[in-house]
């Protein structure tokens, strides 16, 4: 049965950069069909965890599987199962939206006779059909993000991995991106693994969340469970502060701002 195999399964996942343990023994399971949020302050190890799952970084310690497929030994199969949208807003600005999506259709071996329709379908699902033949350097940040989703979807992945999908976007573009993600989940049953800083978004959109801090998992559950555990009328923001309090005091001098600034800058530098 489908539900027996987790969409993502990590066991004691560990990753070091030199002496620094970026991910330190993370174990988690993402159930097929859910929107799973990985939360945590900057430097918590969210992106590193995702980069191991997406095969971008080699597996150093522990295990990770996507729908039962080992990310270390069967990289190509894992890649065929998922769509990935990295944190940085990026598109090839010299190409049109349609050309950008077409490239990914080819790289994912979408059969030639289906390619045109699948590209159009992805663009339509992301509300980009009217702008498909414009050069993407003229796209707004929200449009580039939806284009990236279209690129990730053209393969019809079973698992969609989104790293800070709404960072650097204005509130309208944010809700636009989340609306599309929700629509997709409803129509396809796709599993979504998402990292975010935004507790409001996580509370509203995620079925379950995991809180990461300094490379380890501090809490995991539905937003309601985590809030209830803290008692009273706690918000997810309070849960976040409770589990990562020391990080909020210390993280800024280590480049908390610069990370956001880099993303903002690249948002304006597509092409």
């Amino acid at each position: 049965m489908t539900t027996d195999i987790p969409a993502v399964e990590c066991e004691e996942l560990t990753y070091r950069f030199g002496d620094h343990r970026a991910v330190d023994g993370v174990s988690l399971r993402v159930v097929p069909g859910e929107i799973f949020g990985l939360l945590g302050p900057n430097g918590a190890g969210k992106t590193t965890t995702i980069r191991v799952i997406t095969t971008l970084l080699p597996l150093q310690g522990g295990q990770a599987r996507v729908f039962g497929v080992d990310v270390d030994r069967r990289k190509m199969e894992v890649r065929r199962l998922m769509g990935y949208v990295p944190q940085q807003l990026s598109a090839n600005g010299a190409l049109t939206g349609r050309e950008n999506v077409s490239l990914f259709a080819r790289l994912f071996d979408v059969p030639r006779r289906e390619r045109r329709d699948r590209v159009a379908e992805s663009l339509r699902a992301m509300g980009l059909e009217d702008d498909a033949d414009r050069i993407t350097s003229a796209y707004s940040g929200g449009m580039v993000r939806r284009l990236e989703l279209a690129q990730a979807l053209v393969n019809r992945p079973r698992l969609l991995i989104l790293d800070e999908p709404t960072i650097g976007l204005d509130p309208i573009a944010r809700s636009g991106v989340w609306d599309r993600i929700n629509e997709l989940r409803e129509t396809t049953g796709m599993t979504v693994l998402v990292t975010t800083h935004s507790m409001d978004e996580a509370d509203a959109m995620c079925d379950r969340v995991a809180l990461m801090h300094l490379g380890t998992l501090r809490a995991i559950g539905t937003p309601a469970e985590l809030k209830a555990a803290l008692g009273g009328d706690a918000t997810l923001e309070d849960v976040f502060r409770h589990h990562a309090a020391d990080a909020l005091d210390n993280s800024l001098p280590q480049g908390g701002f610069s990370e956001v600034r880099t993303t903002r800058r690249t948002a304006g530098r597509v092409g």
Binding site: T2, E77, R80, L81, L95, D109, T266
Partner: protein, 279 residues
């Protein structure tokens, strides 16, 4: 329905507990990735025709000023072949070299912009990605070569009209641009920044060019430079181009062998270092 259901069948296969994933045979990946990335290169070039013209200025100066002058003073003995005819294949090779040797900048840009990350998460082996990029550089070099060839024809260079030989010229240019762009991507994987790659690219272009037979016959060089010239893939490229275009005696079998082996080595080196750009 706004979006079609998943193409991959729901449910695991009984024996492995894994989802069957439709996959074309591995051998087809290389040509399909190369085709996809060459197509992107063509799409980009279609919108930037000015580059084709600005890049034609330098070879034009070499042919018109250097070529015409040295033809007149007869300083370089080229036997029965006029010097301008001798020079034209060398300049053709040079224009391809200039495009290819800075191609690694594109991969660094793609890394910085986050595009490379997304390419690396597609089911594309790193060597297929590098091969695709290398031949995309070749496609760009070929369009430039057409401009240089037209220019040479205008200046009265007597070139072959044999379509087979012209196809040979195209293949030599493709292979050479592929090799030099792999060299560039290898350096990109080592230095990781655009500025350093620009510096190194500029530092090696002229030695490669002057240390080859592009401007003068190898026999004229001092012995030590002859040794360097024999280790320089550009010399084999020019030898083949000259033989095919102008009809001078050439060692085509050796030239093609050297170029093909260089491309294989270049792809291997560049793909081994691509991971450094991915971190």
């Amino acid at each position: 329905m706004k979006y079609a259901p998943l193409a991959v069948p729901q449910g695991a296969s009984a024996d492995t507990g894994l989802f069957p994933v439709r996959r074309p045979p591995a051998w087809r990946q290389y040509p399909s990735r190369v085709a996809a990335l060459c197509l992107v290169e063509l799409q980009k070039m279609r919108r930037d025709r000015t580059e084709l013209l600005t890049r034609a200025i330098q070879p034009a100066l070499w042919l018109i000023i250097f070529g015409e002058t040295f033809s007149r003073i007869r300083a370089i003995p080229t036997g029965s072949v006029p010097y301008l005819d001798f020079l034209a294949p060398g300049i053709l090779a040079q224009s391809a070299l200039f495009i290819a040797i800075f191609y690694g900048i594109q991969i660094i840009w793609e890394r910085d912009a986050g595009v490379l990350t997304k390419l690396l998460v597609t089911p594309t082996p790193r060597s297929a990605l590098v091969t695709g990029k290398a031949f995309a550089a070749g496609v760009r070099a070929l369009t430039q070569a057409v401009v240089v060839l037209l220019l040479a024809a205008l200046l009265g260079v007597a070139m072959t009209g044999n379509p087979l030989k012209l196809a040979g010229v195209a293949i030599v240019l493709l292979l050479s641009a592929a090799f030099f762009s792999c060299l560039s991507m290898t350096i990109a994987g080592l230095v990781l920044t655009r500025d350093r790659l620009m510096g190194i690219g500029q530092a090696i272009t002229m030695p490669l060019f002057f240390g080859s037979n592009a401007l003068y016959p190898v026999a004229l060089m001092p012995a030590w430079l002859q040794v360097i010239s024999h280790a320089n893939p550009l010399s084999y490229e020019v030898d083949a181009l000259r033989g095919l275009l102008i009809g001078t005696p050439a060692h085509l079998a050796l030239d093609f062998t050297v170029l093909i082996v260089s491309v294989v080595l270049g792809v291997t080196a560049a793909s081994a270092l691509l991971g450094r750009l991915a971190r």
